[in-house]
Each structure stands twice: as structure tokens, then as C-alpha cells.
Amino acid sequence: MTTYTLTSIAALSAKNAVLRVVGDIHGLLRFPFADPETLEGALTPTDLATAQIKLTQGGAGGVLALLCEEVFGY
């Protein structure tokens, strides 16, 4: 008969492992204004003349970046 004897338990140390996490993208939101095909709804320079974004801050130390997707004419 085979006998299995637990001889030790030690804290894991430097062993290969694979990690998979499932969740939401960390700290990024994207707000499309334009139809992706026709670009209808894009914010024009006329709209943008007085356009602003307001962020309410709820904690210090967050690394912040504001990004825009633009269309450049030739």
C-alpha cells in the first residue's frame, strides 16, 4: 500500500507561476463623440472654442493624463 506523508509546509519561495486576472481596464475611460464611419458628431473648432472638461478629484497622487483623438486635414 502506498503511504503519503506530509513532511513539511513552507512559505512559497521563487517558484514559477502563471497568473490570470479578470477585471476592468485600470484607470482609463474613452468617450467617443463621432460616428466611427461618418465622423458625424465630432467636436468642431467652433464647439471647441469654449469647450472644457471638469474632473472632480477624490484622492491625491493619481497620475492623470487627458487624451484627444484628432483629425488633421491635409
Binding site: 513539511s8 490570470r20 486576472v21 482609463l28 474613452r30 478629484q57 493619481g62 484628432e70 491635409y74
Partner: protein, 316 residues
């Protein structure tokens, strides 16, 4: 629609410097729908723990005529922006394995509405000079010669271009740029003007803080004009996050770790719903002694903290 060609501009070209501003002039003519950028770095003998390869890429830029930045964005934001826009990430390999492990990630600069768009794209002949710039710092992965192998930062550039004989006449091109960067304060509103020179098709807000519950320090976002007498968008971060992430095709991220009990690992996901950790490293010796590794993880924000034991079993 013309069949696009994939032109290899450079292939895994290793850079001598571990910290530098990489510059590559693009050809003088050609019509690009997109440009793929792949970067790699080889690990060295000492395991690098809880470092993010995306931090190495401080900025990726497309600079026209010397000072006209059509793309300017950090590697971390570009990776996540593509993921959010298309529902899946570009290819990546995050590994902590010493010596043989190679961290790799790809980015795509999109100049049209979609690949093969004949209305919008990058027409190189319209500029005197178009340069790709990658501002990188490999020391974000640790110490040269210890954690990463010096001189192994390598760059690949692949252009998705229209055939020379079937070049379209583009109306314009698209780009994505940072227009503000900073650090959040404990409270109060931050108001910024939007750029006014060009059509804007989308805006994005990036705000990260590692290891905090929601992974961000912004609670509310409002976009409008005329001192917000006209409002285009107004809401809570957590509501926008739920709505936008629900549309993703890929919501998981994979890592290869060298794990110890109590290790932290920062990921590019937050609100983590599921953690799977497995060790393929079981050992058996001739006398029938088995070492089995059991690991679990708990998450706070984008941090996963590992807890694990090695159980040794003798078989007689």
C-alpha cells in the same frame, strides 16, 4: 479597397543605450493606414519582481516636420487606449523569468478610421520629414546587468501601407495626443480647456493610482462648453467604467511570475473579479518526495497579492 501591404521598416533592432530617445525617420513617400511598433527587453539573472514593462515606454510620438506632434502618448496609455477602443489588447508578454524571459509589447498607431481606410491616413509625401520617436528608460525594469540584459531593448516597426501603384488621396489623418498631464489633489475640481485646432472625435481620461480600491482618484467627469451651460457628458467614473468595460471582448490579462509568498503584482486591470494562479513547478525526486505549490491571490485595485505554500509529501 486596396489590399494593404505590411512593410517591415525595422525588425527587432537592438538599441545600444538602455535609456534614450529613439528616433527613426520614415520614408519620404508612402501612404500608411497604420504603423505597428513592437518593443522587447530581455531579463537578466536576477528576477525582477513587480515591474511594469509599459513603464519603460515613457512616450511614443509621431512628429511631422520636426515639431508637429500628431501622436504623443505614454506607452501605458497607448496600450490601454487601444484595448478600450477595440475591445482587445495588442500582443504582449509579461514575464519575470530570469535570463530567458523576454518582455514584449506591441502598439498600433492608427491614422485612419480603420485599417484600409482610403479617406484618412498618413501620406508621407505631404511632409518634409516624419519621425517616430520612442522615449524609453529600461531602468524602470531594475538595474542593467542585474534585472535586464543591457543592450537588449529592441524595436520593430511595421507599416500597413497602400500599394505604391494604388495610393489613395487622403482627406486627412488621425492622431491621438496627450493635452494635459498632472497629479490629482485630494479634493476639488480640475477644469481644463480642450484643444481647439482640429476636429476631435473622442476624448479619454487616464487616471491611475496603484493599489487603491477603485484604481483611480477621479470621481466625476463633465464635458461641455460655455462654462458648462451646454453639457455633452456628465457622470460618475464608476458608472462609465462599468458601461465601457462591459463592451470589451477580452477582460483578462496573463503574467508569468516567479512567485513568493507575499509578493505583490501590479496589473493593468482593476475591479478584479477573478484571479487564477497556478504553478507548473512541481518536483519529484527518485525517493518519492513531492513538492507541490499552492498559490492564491487577493486583489486591491490593480494589485494582486500572492499567498502560497510549498507542501512536501513523502511517498512510501
Amino acid at each position: 479597397m486596396a489590399r494593404l501591404e505590411q512593410a517591415i521598416i525595422m525588425s527587432r533592432e537592438a538599441q545600444v543605450a538602455d535609456t534614450a530617445l529613439f528616433r527613426k525617420d520614415l520614408p519620404k513617400s508612402g501612404c500608411y493606414s497604420a504603423l505597428d511598433i513592437g518593443v522587447r527587453l530581455t531579463n537578466d539573472d536576477t528576477v525582477v519582481e513587480d515591474k511594469d514593462f509599459l513603464d519603460v515606454i515613457k512616450h511614443i510620438s509621431l512628429v511631422c516636420n520636426g515639431n508637429d506632434y500628431r501622436v504623443h502618448i505614454s506607452g501605458k496609455d497607448l496600450f490601454k487606449h487601444y484595448w478600450m477602443k477595440h475591445g482587445r489588447p495588442m500582443p504582449y508578454n509579461w514575464t519575470e523569468v530570469a535570463s530567458t524571459g523576454v518582455n514584449e509589447v506591441w502598439f498600433r498607431l492608427e491614422f485612419g478610421r480603420y485599417l484600409g481606410d482610403d479617406q484618412f491616413g498618413l501620406d508621407l509625401s505631404r511632409f518634409n520629414n516624419v519621425q517616430v520617436q520612442i522615449d524609453y528608460d529600461c531602468t524602470k525594469m531594475g538595474t542593467a546587468g542585474t534585472h535586464f540584459t543591457t543592450g537588449t531593448f529592441a524595436v520593430t516597426l511595421i507599416a500597413h501601407q497602400f500599394p505604391y501603384a494604388r495610393r489613395p488621396s487622403f482627406r486627412g489623418m488621425m492622431g491621438v495626443r496627450e493635452f494635459y498631464t498632472g497629479t490629482t489633489a485630494a479634493s476639488g475640481d480640475l477644469v481644463q480647456d480642450l484643444p481647439t485646432a482640429n476636429l476631435i472625435t473622442a476624448l479619454a481620461v487616464s487616471c491611475v493610482e496603484d493599489g487603491v480600491a477603485d484604481g483611480t482618484d477621479i470621481t466625476d467627469i463633465r464635458i461641455g462648453k460655455n462654462n458648462f451651460s451646454e453639457i455633452w457628458l456628465d457622470g460618475k467614473w464608476y458608472n462609465f467604467a462599468a458601461m465601457q468595460n462591459a463592451a470589451l471582448d477580452v477582460r483578462e490579462e496573463d503574467f508569468t511570475l516567479v512567485a513568493s509568498n507575499g509578493d505583490d503584482k501590479s496589473t493593468h486591470l482593476t475591479n478584479i473579479k477573478n484571479i487564477i494562479v497556478l504553478s507548473p513547478d512541481m518536483t519529484v525526486n527518485a525517493t518519492g518526495v513531492y513538492a507541490n505549490h499552492f498559490i492564491a491571490g487577493t486583489a486591491v485595485g490593480n494589485y494582486v497579492t500572492l499567498a502560497g505554500d510549498t507542501l512536501t509529501v513523502t511517498v512510501t
